[in-house]
Structure formats: C-alpha cells, structure tokens
C-alpha cells in the first residue's frame, strides 16, 4: 500500500509546512507563475505554456504535503522522488523549489544562462533536488518506475511522482513503462499527465489524438482518475486517492496551456517563446491582481469561518 501524505511532524528540514488551505495554495501558485514568467523573460527563451499549465499540480506536490523533501539536504535518502518527464516545463519546478527554499529565489534569474545550475531542461547532478535528466521526451516514467521498484526491493518508504506531458504520451516508451508498471504494480508510483491539449506543432487532436487517454492508462493496468488540473481542491483529492491506491495510479489532469496569463492561455504560440518585456509587465499585472484577489479570498474565508463560529 502507498502511504498517506506525511504529517507535519514527519517532515524534515526547514521547508514551508504543508497546507491544505486552498487560498494559501492558490497564492503560492500565483507566486510560482510570477517566477515562471520573470525567469523566462530574463532568459529570453524557454517554454511558458507547458510550465504554466502544470502549476497547480506542482504546487500541490511541493506545498500540499505530498512530496517529502528536505530543503537543507536534497539527497536525504528517504525523500520522495519527483521526476519531471516533460522536461521543457522545468521552470515550474525551479520556481516551486525556490519557493520551497531549495534554491535561492534570485538564482532563478540565471535560468538557461552560461554556468548556471538551472539548465534549460532538468539535469541530474546539476541542480539539487532534480532527480533525473529529462528533455528527450518519453523517458521519465521508465526512470520513475526503476526508482519505485528499487524502493520496493529495499522495503523503503518513499514514493515516486512522475509528471508527464500529454504530447509526450505519443512516445512509445511511455507505454512500455506504463505496461511494465501495470505488470509490476508498484503502489509507490504515481503518474500525473498535464493534459493541456497542445504540442509544439499544434493541437494534439490534430497531430495524434490521445483520446481516450485515461482509458489507455487503465488498459495498461493503472488506476486512473480525471480531474480539472487547475482546481486545487480536485488536485489534492486526486493525490489523496492516488496515495491510497494499491497499485500504480495515474491522474489525468485537464489543463490549459499558458494558464494564468490571459494572452497566453490556449495560444500555442507561447509553447516555446518567452514573453517580451512588455508582455512580462502585462503578465505580472494580471498575476498581481490575482494574488491580491486570492489574499482577499483567504481573508474572506477566515472571516466567514469566524462568522460561522
């Protein structure tokens, strides 16, 4: 059986305490989005669309208490492993790691620059907290499966989370790994698919349609659930469900590419094009408003709670 999410007292290091407070998680998600657009504008290259679509999934992992890590010791042997198989989305992971205290926030500005620890795609060994080198799509689930089976062989108590892109589910290796996991049935392996419906050259439905995607995972022997990948309540609930599953579990998260920045949402031109300075200002303006709105939601929630008592 997979473990449930660890309690506060089980956690190590000086990272932010896990929370299930949706307003707090939304605020964190907005901060992560701000980091993403800022770092991409600074690097003048990178992939905004697929970074922004995965923000809630990654926020829930790092701040909802699902991923156990020690910001002071990235190599803590009992940590959970997070493999970002859609490596081009790594700005979302760097941003979350910075928010979690695993990287200095100011280091985000070095993304993709010479001598930086923040490589354009994840590199094991280059950046503390990165668990696998990815960027050649389709490979992360195999790596995560190997990790999960190694943990099971050792009777170790850590879990493996793998975040895949939807486009990369066109790669044959994904289904090799899915089939192998369906046979081996590691309960400590959770896959999440960021199903934002677009790939570099256009709409997935036009290039190689994946539907029915959840049914494909089920056919490979995975327990599967489909959610709105931007509804943090649904994300938390799905992760709770996946943690309790007795075999490999897959969360197919329907998302919007470029989510959170109005002019990027659903516009595939921002798959691999960084925002200009002007676009950055506009994006930060929107994310500022959202942040304030979420802060007020949090206050309103607190007031409503008080009124109810």
């Amino acid at each position: 059986m997979a473990r449930s999410a660890p309690s506060d007292t089980e956690r190590r290091g000086g990272g932010p305490p896990p929370t299930r407070d949706l307003a707090a998680l939304r605020a964190r998600a907005t901060l992560i989005r701000r980091h993403i657009v800022e770092m991409l504008a600074e690097s003048r290259s990178g992939h905004p669309g697929g970074s922004l679509s995965a923000v809630e999934l990654v926020t829930a992992l790092y701040f909802g208490g699902y991923l156990r890590y020690d910001p002071e010791n990235a190599k803590w042997s009992e940590r959970d492993r997070f493999v970002l198989s859609k490596g081009h989305g790594v700005p979302v992971q760097y941003a979350a790691m910075a928010e979690a205290g695993m990287l200095p926030v100011e280091e985000l500005r070095t993304l993709r620059k010479i001598d930086s620890r923040l490589q354009g795609h994840p590199v094991l060994g280059a950046t503390p907290g990165i668990e696998a080198s990815t960027g050649s799509l389709g490979q992360g689930l195999s790596i995560g499966l190997g990790m999960a089976l190694a943990a099971r062989m050792d009777g170790a108590d850590w879990n493996v989370f793998v975040l895949l892109g939807d486009g990369e589910c066109q790669e044959g290796q994904v289904w090799e790994a899915a089939m192998a996991a369906g046979h081996q049935r590691p309960a400590n392996l959770i896959a999440m698919v960021d199903y934002n419906k677009f790939q570099l050259d256009g709409a997935i439905a036009d290039i190689i349609d994946l539907t029915p995607l959840a049914a494909k995972w089920e056919a490979m022997g995975w327990q599967t659930r489909e959610i709105d990948g931007h509804d943090l309540g649904e994300v938390l609930e799905a992760l709770d469900w996946a943690m309790a599953a007795d075999g490999p579990a897959c969360i197919v998260a329907h998302t919007v590419k470029g989510k959170g920045v109005s002019f990027m949402e659903g516009d595939n031109a921002y798959h691999g094009v960084a925002p200009t300075e002007k676009e950055l200002a506009a994006a930060l303006g929107e994310l500022e408003v959202l942040e304030q709105a979420e802060a007020s939601i949090e206050r309103e929630g607190a007031e409503a709670g008080e009124a109810g008592r």
């Binding site: 042997s77 492993r81 493999v83 590199v123 094991l124 060994g125 668990e131 696998a132 080198s133 990815t134 960027g135 050649s136 490979q139 689930l141 195999s142 790596i143 995560g144 499966l145 190997g146 990790m147 999960a148 089976l149 190694a150 943990a151 062989m153 050792d154 044959g172 290796q173 090799e176 790994a177 089939m179 192998a180 046979h183 081996q184």
Partner: protein, 330 residues
C-alpha cells in the same frame, strides 16, 4: 570454431562466462540487480535469475524502458546489470543510455551479447557491428570487449568495482582460450602484451585476439618478429601501450569483429596520429552488414580471421621493404 584458431582450445562462450560471473558477484553484493529484455536464456543473465529471482526483473521486450528503469534504479543506489543482444540494448536503447545513464553518469552496467557477426545463423538483424562505436561515443562510458571466458569473468568484476557506466560485449560462440585462468591484474584501460616483437604490432580484442596470435606465429615462420597486444578496453584506451607499439615496432595492425568506423581501429589510429604517427592497417567489417551462416564460415567470408590479419601485416611490411629499396637506390 577452432578451425580458424589452429592450436587453440575452445573455452566457453563469453556470454556463458558473463552469466556465471554475474551470479558469483551477486553472492557477494546485495546491491546488484539484473534486468533483461526477454533474452535472459540467450544472454545468460538467467544464470543470475535462477539464484536471485528477487533481484532479477524481466522487463519484457522493452529495451528502451529497461535502460530508463536501470537509470532510476542506479540513482536509488542499486547497481543494475542490464542485458540483451548488443544490437538491441545499444541501438534501441541509445537515447535512453544517453539521457538516463551517460549524461547523469549513473552506475549502470550494460551487457550486450551476440556481439559481432559470429552470432551466425540468425543473420544480420541480430548481429551487432556498430555497438562499440556507439558505446564509445557516449561520454563517461567504459567500453570493453573481452576475448575469452577468463577475461570476461575479470571484466564483470571490474565493472562492478568501477563507479560509472560500463558497456561489456559478449559473444555467442565458444571462444578460443587466450588466458589460462582469470587474470588477476585485469583493469579497464590496461592492455596485455601477449607476445613480444619488434617488426610490427597487432592490436586486437574479442575473437580477433586469438586470430592475432595465430597470425603472429605464421609471420614468425617468415622471420618477422610480431608483438601482439590484447586490447579489451576500447575506452579508456591504453594509450601508453599504443604509443609504445608505434615507437618500438613502427607498424600497427588493428583487428576487431566490428565495423571499421568508430571501433578499436579508429580509436587506436587517433592515438597513433597524436602520439607517434606510424603506418597502420585495419581488419574489420568494411562498411557492410553480414548475413546468415555458420559462424566460422561467416568469419572467413567477411575477412575476420588470422589470414586477413597476416595479409594486413604483409602489406605493412611490403611498405617497409619498398622504403628500404628506395633508400638503397638513392
């Protein structure tokens, strides 16, 4: 196959020695795990599986997934030995070897069996002739082609002791015994001078090491003094031994069961050019695939026997005589 290795005793196939050595090593080290892609009975990783079923995973016919899984297991502290036919694990798993093993420099040991054309009757689709070049092109990889069962046992042990990715090629047919027992001084990157000589050096590995020794004996009858160097490790190359051969014997023949492009010959030539330029000749597959057939007949047809090694040596020696003749004329 001792028809093309006169004077030699045939030992076990190097793939058999691989399986046995892996099982023996498994008794000593609990962190070894073994993965195979539905060829365990052929690669002989089944010998390990029989004794350690809990540390063996047959991933099915999924070479790419197997390589990725091995990377994940290595990052979690295991020492995975993964095997398939050389052509499948290296060629089908190449991008995975790059991303999940070589780039992150993970401690994965890759064993490719049925290397070269001597796997025989199955035909060219099952014969790896590009594997050494591809493996050598991967940064951080150690690449080794043992010549007989004894050297294979030493190489498997060395692979475990080495912290980093290793590729070991094994073969299907019984291999002529070059060594009498497991060499105790085996180290990656260290060649073995099997025979001393001063007129030219033959550098070889795999089945061609025995062929080189046969050739050296033939040439000796003609009054030619031939050094023979067994060079199991292509990467890192024993450059000191290559330089010594160039300096002290002046001519080098390289022989291998692989394409001429990117194999042992190409690597030795690069070292010779840099360290001490000398005339060279090469025995290997010249831009071709082979076919089905009896292994010995294939080795003859595609020019991978002592006869071709001797012919290559004679071409180099003819060059020497031509130079000497030109010198006398002046």
């Amino acid at each position: 196959m001792n028809g093309i290795y006169p004077g030699f005793t045939l030992g076990k196939a190097t793939r058999d020695a691989y399986g046995e050595a892996l099982r023996d090593l498994g008794r000593e080290h609990a962190d070894i795990v073994v993965l195979d892609a539905d060829l365990a009975k052929s690669t002989k990783s089944a010998v390990f599986e029989n004794e350690f079923p809990d540390r063996f995973i047959n991933v099915g016919i999924q070479e790419a997934n197997m390589v990725g899984m091995a990377g994940g297991m290595a990052s979690a502290g295991k020492v995975p030995f993964i095997s398939s036919f050389a052509c499948f694990v290296i060629l089908k798993g190449f991008d995975q070897l790059r991303m999940a093993v070589s780039y992150p420099r993970l401690n994965v040991k890759v064993a490719g069996s049925h290397g070269g054309i001597s796997s025989g009757e199955d035909g060219a689709s099952q014969q790896a002739v590009e594997d050494v070049a591809l493996a050598c092109s991967l940064p951080h990889f150690t690449v080794c082609v043992p010549c007989d069962e004894h050297q294979m046992r030493a190489a498997v042990r060395a692979a475990y002791d080495h912290d980093g990715p290793v590729y070991i090629r094994s073969g299907r047919p019984k291999a002529p015994l070059v060594y009498e027992r497991t060499p105790e001084n085996f180290r990656f990157g260290r060649a073995t001078r099997l025979r001393e000589g001063s007129d030219l050096t033959i550098i070889a590995n795999g089945l061609l090491t025995a062929a080189a020794l046969v050739s050296a004996a033939e040439l000796e009858k003609e009054g030619v003094s031939v050094r023979v160097v067994d060079m199991p490790t292509i990467k890192p190359l024993d450059e000191a031994e290559v330089e010594a051969a160039a300096r002290e014997t002046g001519r080098i023949v390289v022989a291998e069961e692989h394409l001429l492009h990117g194999g042992l010959g190409a690597c030795v030539a690069q070292a010779v050019c840099r360290l001490h330029p000398a005339p060279m000749e090469f025995v290997g597959l010249d831009d071709t695939y082979a076919e089905s057939g009896d292994p010995e007949l294939l080795m003859r047809k595609y020019g991978l026997t002592h006869a071709e090694v001797t012919a290559a040596a004679r071409r180099l020696l003819a060059g020497r005589e031509a130079e000497a003749g030109a010198g006398a004329a002046r």
